[in-house]
Symmetry: C2
Subunit: 212 residues, 2 copies
């Protein structure tokens, strides 16, 4: 198994956590997103989406972090990253998608670059944009954690799920952009619990071979 990723990519970080939680060994290949290596013809020939992560298994190439995690769940079910019950699975997927669809896409590298280059926004304006969507999204995440049944030491129950794989990279991003996280106590308590887990800790950007 080979994971094509980038140390700072949240989506790559999610898959690294899932692989570690499932105790799956993998080789790493590095695609430097800030330098635009995802647009290199050799990479696009493998992944027409020109995004990371991409997981290579035998001759097969899997893309999109949540699709990769669902695949790992189906092919390596232990330990599970989704509950057994359909309603609980829906809650975990909803929390995961709240991050993957509502927060992260609006703040990813190519959107920030477009704000600068095409819309002429300053560094400071781009940072304000970033913090706006983090605040909007984490407030919704906190409200859902607190307002729906199921949260425990982790986002759902007392063991890590796909939702925690999504949450931790998003909190790393919030901290990197100095967002105030004081308004999200349950979220931050779960983040702290995750970071005491070796699988999460070892997946963090600064511990990757391509970290700068």
């Amino acid at each position: 198994m080979k994971l094509h990723g980038y140390f700072r990519s949240s989506a790559s970080f999610r898959v690294r956590i899932a692989l570690n939680l499932k105790r799956l060994d993998y080789d790493a290949a590095f695609v430097h997103i800030a330098k635009g290596e995802q647009h290199a013809p050799a990479y696009c020939a493998l992944n027409p989406q020109a995004l990371v992560p991409m997981l290579e298994i035998g001759g097969d190439l899997l893309t999109q972090s949540l699709a990769i995690i669902e695949y790992l769940e189906e092919t390596h079910p232990h330990p599970p990253l989704l509950p057994a019950n359909a309603l609980e699975r829906a809650r975990v997927r909803s929390l995961s998608l709240l991050i993957a669809c509502e927060i992260h896409p609006v703040n990813n590298t190519r959107v920030l670059q477009h704000l600068k280059r095409a819309l002429g926004q300053s560094e400071e304006q781009v940072n304000a944009w970033y913090r706006h969507w983090i605040a909007d999204g984490l407030a919704k995440f906190e409200a859902q954690l607190q307002g729906t049944r199921g949260s425990g030491r982790f986002c759902h129950g007392d063991a890590p799920t796909m939702a925690d794989c999504c949450l931790v990279p998003q909190v790393f991003n919030a901290q990197r952009f100095q967002c105030d996280t004081g308004a999200y106590p349950k979220t931050m308590q779960i983040f702290a619990e995750c970071m005491r887990n070796e699988a999460f800790d070892r997946a963090q950007p600064s511990k990757q071979p391509d970290a700068e």
Copy 2:
């Protein structure tokens, strides 16, 4: 079953298609997104994410369109909206997420409103933003349809899947904003095939009771 949605919401549209494909009857409740009804305290008490769609089943409330579709797939497996094989399921999920994570979030109502109100962008600039991300995303979608094995009359094989439930609302958005879709022949061929299917046709915005 009651679907809380909005005629023009892409994410609601995805779930309407899935419900129709699975021949599930549902009641509809309407949340007028352009008027901000998703922020009404009574709605937020049910859905802390303040988003549509939300599917009410018995006393349970499901949120996030793809989590809802996965739940419907698990509880009403026929006809299937995901293939049986794990690798093929990963391809369908990747195509679905390419739309749900890479195109749609950057162009949703609250982002467009923020561009206008906080960043002072004109109507014309906002439309250019919209078309930019449609072109970026549909080009990637077309490349993946053509560059990975599995496409048939539909995104994957010859029957509709979750990927088609995501594609069709996105193409409706592209057409509403007069995006040129000439560069995506395979995508548009599949879109046309979908629209010949009653389940897709009946789910379209203009045919909903709350359409304006």
